[in-house]
C-alpha cells in the first residue's frame, strides 16, 4: 500500500480554518461595492426608529424612553441595537447560509470529497463573518454616533467589548443549527428573511425585552444575542443587566458559549449523515 502523503494534524486543521476564512475574504474583496454597503446598512437600519422617535415623541421622546429602558440616550440605544443586529444577521447569512452558498456555487460536493471535518470549514466561515461584521458594526456605530451627535465612548467600554466577544461563540452555535435547518430544507432565502425579523424582535434591537409578554420574554432569554446586546447597552448606557451585575449576565453568556456550539455541531452532523444516507449533498 502506498503511504498517504498528507496526514491531518491540529496545525493542518487550523490551516483549513484559516484557508476557509481567507477564501471568503478574497471573494468579497472582488465585490467592492458590497463592502461600502456593509457600513451604510446598520446606520440606515437605526436611522428609521431614531427619526420616528423624534417625529412622534418630540421633546418628550427622551423622557419617555428613559422611563421604559433606563436610558434617555435612545439614539445610542438604537445604534447599539442595529450594530449588534448586523453581527447576528451576518452570522446567519454567512455561517448558516454557508451550506446553501456552496450548494448554489456547485462546490459543496467538492469540499465533501476532502478529508476534513466540515466544522473546521464552517469555523473558518464564522471567523470571516465575525471579522467582517465586527469591522462593519464598529464603523457603523462610530459613523452613526457622529451623524446623530452622540458620544460613542461613554460607560464601561471594556465590559461592552467583553460582551460582544463572548456573544460571538454562542452565536456560532446558533448559526450551526440554522445551517443544519437549511441543509435539511434546502431553502434559505425565505428562512433567513423570517429569521431576521424574528431575531430583531427576540434580541430587542429597538426596544427592551422587558416590554414583551411573558412567553416571548422567556424565548428572548433563551436566545444568546439578547444577552449580548443587553450587556453592551448596560455597560455603555446603564440600562441595567438582567441579573443586576455584569458578571452574572456574563456567566449566562458563557454557559451559552459551552452549550450552543456543541448542540449546533451535533445537530449539523446528524442532518449531514441523514442526507448522505439518502440523496447526497449535491442535491438541492
Amino acid at each position: 500500500m502506498v503511504e498517504l502523503l498528507y496526514q491531518p494534524s491540529l496545525r493542518s486543521k487550523l490551516g483549513v480554518l484559516l484557508a476557509s476564512a481567507r477564501m471568503r475574504l478574497i471573494t468579497i474583496s472582488r465585490y467592492r461595492g458590497q463592502l461600502a454597503l456593509d457600513l451604510v446598512m446598520p446606520i440606515v437600519f437605526a436611522a428609521m426608529p431614531i427619526l420616528l422617535g423624534r417625529a412622534t415623541g418630540g421633546a418628550a421622546a427622551a423622557d419617555n424612553f428613559l422611563r421604559n429602558t433606563g436610558t434617555a440616550n435612545y439614539v445610542a440605544y438604537m445604534l447599539i441595537g442595529s450594530s449588534a443586529f448586523t453581527i447576528v444577521t451576518y452570522a446567519f447569512w454567512h455561517t448558516g447560509y454557508w451550506v446553501r452558498w456552496e450548494q448554489e456555487t456547485g462546490t459543496l460536493e467538492a469540499i465533501y470529497l476532502a478529508p476534513t471535518n466540515k466544522l473546521w470549514l464552517v469555523a473558518g466561515v464564522a471567523l470571516y463573518s465575525m471579522l467582517r461584521s465586527l469591522i462593519s458594526a464598529t464603523a457603523a456605530y462610530l459613523i452613526g454616533s457622529a451623524i446623530f451627535h452622540v458620544n460613542p465612548f461613554q460607560g464601561e467600554l471594556l465590559i461592552a467589548v467583553a460582551f460582544v466577544v463572548s456573544g460571538l461563540v454562542p452565536l456560532l452555535g446558533v448559526s450551526f443549527l440554522f445551517g443544519a435547518l437549511i441543509l435539511k430544507l434546502k431553502q434559505a432565502n425565505a428562512l433567513v428573511n423570517l429569521m431576521q425579523w424574528g431575531v430583531t424582535l427576540l434580541m430587542g434591537v429597538f426596544f427592551p425585552v422587558a416590554v414583551f409578554p411573558p412567553m416571548a420574554r422567556v424565548l428572548a432569554w433563551l436566545f444568546p444575542p439578547t444577552w449580548m446586546v443587553n450587556g453592551v447597552r448596560s455597560a455603555l448606557l446603564g440600562v441595567g443587566f438582567f441579573f443586576g451585575r455584569w458578571y452574572r449576565d456574563m456567566a449566562v453568556l458563557w454557559a451559552f458559549m459551552l452549550i450552543a456550539p456543541l448542540l449546533g455541531a451535533w445537530v449539523f452532523a446528524r442532518v449531514e449523515r441523514n442526507i448522505r444516507r439518502n440523496a447526497g449533498m449535491g442535491e438541492y
Binding site: V2, L4, V16, T107, E109, L113, T116, N278, M281
Partner: protein, 337 residues
C-alpha cells in the same frame, strides 16, 4: 491478487419524492445499485461504462464517501468507505462534477491552494504543488485569472487539476473529457496515462466507447444498477462470438424495426436518433447472409435507407448485444432477442 478498489455486494436505494401535481407527492423507491461486486487492481485503468442513469455516478459517490451505501461493503486503498471515510478521502483524487466544483471568483492558483489546504497540505507546499499541476496541464497563462473568465474546457482542465492536488494513489474521474474539444480531450487522456505510468490506479467513467477502448485496461459495463459485463476490451468484444453488427440509417418506422427484429438470425435490434435520422443497430449471427433480407424487409415497410453497412465490433455493440439498447441518451428498448 492485490486490490486497490474492492466492492462486495454494494447496493444503494434512494427514496425520492415523486410529484403528483402541485401539492401531492409520493415516496418512491429507486434501486440505483444492485449487489455490485468488482475488484480493481493497483496500477490499472479501469473503465466504468454505461448510459446516463445506469448507476455510474452513484457508484462513484459511494466510493468517494459522498453517499452511504444501503447494503454491502467497499474498500479503497485498503480503507473501508463507511468506517474509515477520511482515510478513503485522503487516498482518492476525484473529479466528479466538472467545472461546477470550482470557485469562480478565485483564480486558478487560488482554487488549487484552497483545496490543497482541505487535504492538509502544509502551507509551504501548497503553492509548489499548485504550480506543478498548472505546469502539468499547461495552464500557466490562466493561473492568475479568475475562473469566471475561463472557457468551459479550461474550467474542466482546472477541475481535473484539482483532483491531482493531494497526489493520491487512486484517481476517480467521472466523464472528465465532457465539454473538452478533441485535442484537449486527447491531451487529458495522455496525462491520465502518464499518471497511471507513475503507479496511480484510475477509475474512469465515460459513455464514449472509443475513449474506453483506447484508455482502459479493463472495463465494466453497468446498466440499471447492475454490472452486466466485465473484462478486458478485447475479451468483451470476443464475447460477441459469431455475432456481428450492421448499422442502418434513414427514415425507418417502428413497424419496420419490429419486422427486422423478427427476421431469423437477428438476436437484437436497438434504435436511436442520430442527426435527425433513425439508426438501427442490428446484431445477428451472419450479417452478410442477412443483408439482402434486411434490405427487402425495410423496403417492404416503406423505410428510406440512406446508409447500411456491417461494422467492426465495438464496446457499444457489446452493450447493445447485452441490453438491446444503445448508450445514447434518447434510446428506447424495442427488442430483447
Amino acid at each position: 491478487m492485490e486490490t486497490e478498489i474492492r466492492l462486495s455486494h454494494l447496493s444503494k436505494t434512494y427514496s425520492p419524492r415523486q410529484r403528483k401535481g402541485l401539492f401531492k407527492s409520493e415516496v418512491r423507491t429507486v434501486q440505483a445499485l444492485k449487489d455490485v461486486s468488482l475488484e480493481i487492481h493497483p496500477g490499472e485503468i479501469f473503465g466504468l461504462l454505461g448510459p446516463n442513469g445506469a448507476g455510474k455516478t452513484t457508484l462513484i459517490k459511494c466510493l468517494t464517501t459522498l453517499l452511504l451505501p444501503s447494503a454491502g461493503d467497499a474498500w479503497v486503498h485498503g480503507y473501508h468507505i463507511v468506517k474509515e471515510e477520511n482515510l478513503v478521502r485522503s487516498s482518492v483524487g476525484c473529479m466528479l462534477m466538472g467545472e461546477r466544483g470550482l470557485y469562480w471568483k478565485l483564480t486558478g492558483i487560488e482554487n488549487l491552494e484552497f483545496f490543497a489546504a482541505l487535504y492538509h497540505i502544509p502551507p509551504a507546499d501548497r503553492r509548489r504543488r499548485a504550480r506543478e499541476i498548472i505546469n502539468l496541464l499547461e495552464l500557466q497563462d490562466l493561473a492568475d485569472r479568475t475562473v469566471e473568465t475561463y472557457s468551459s474546457g479550461q474550467k474542466m482542465k482546472l477541475a481535473f487539476g484539482k483532483a491531482l492536488i493531494n497526489d493520491a494513489p487512486v484517481l476517480i474521474l467521472d466523464e472528465p473529457t465532457n465539454t473538452l474539444d478533441v485535442p484537449s480531450a486527447r491531451e487529458l487522456r495522455a496525462v491520465v496515462r502518464q499518471l497511471n505510468g507513475q503507479g496511480k490506479t484510475v477509475l474512469y467513467t465515460t459513455h464514449i466507447m472509443s475513449e474506453a477502448e483506447t484508455l482502459c485496461d479493463r472495463v465494466a459495463i453497468i446498466d440499471q444498477g447492475e454490472v452486466i459485463a466485465m473484462d478486458t476490451v478485447e475479451e468483451l468484444k470476443a464475447s460477441m462470438g459469431r455475432e456481428q453488427v450492421t448499422q442502418v440509417e434513414g427514415v425507418i418506422s417502428s413497424q419496420a424495426s419490429q419486422a427486422v427484429e423478427a427476421l431469423p438470425g437477428v438476436s437484437r435490434v436497438a434504435i436511436s436518433a442520430v442527426n435527425g435520422t433513425t439508426r438501427l443497430t442490428v446484431v445477428a449471427e451472419n450479417t452478410r447472409a442477412l443483408l439482402p433480407r434486411l434490405i427487402e424487409t425495410l423496403t417492404a415497410h416503406e423505410a428510406v435507407v440512406q446508409h447500411i453497412a456491417p461494422q467492426e465490433v465495438t464496446l457499444e455493440d457489446v452493450f447493445v448485444a447485452k441490453t438491446g439498447r444503445t448508450l445514447a441518451q434518447d434510446t428506447r428498448v424495442i427488442g430483447h432477442g
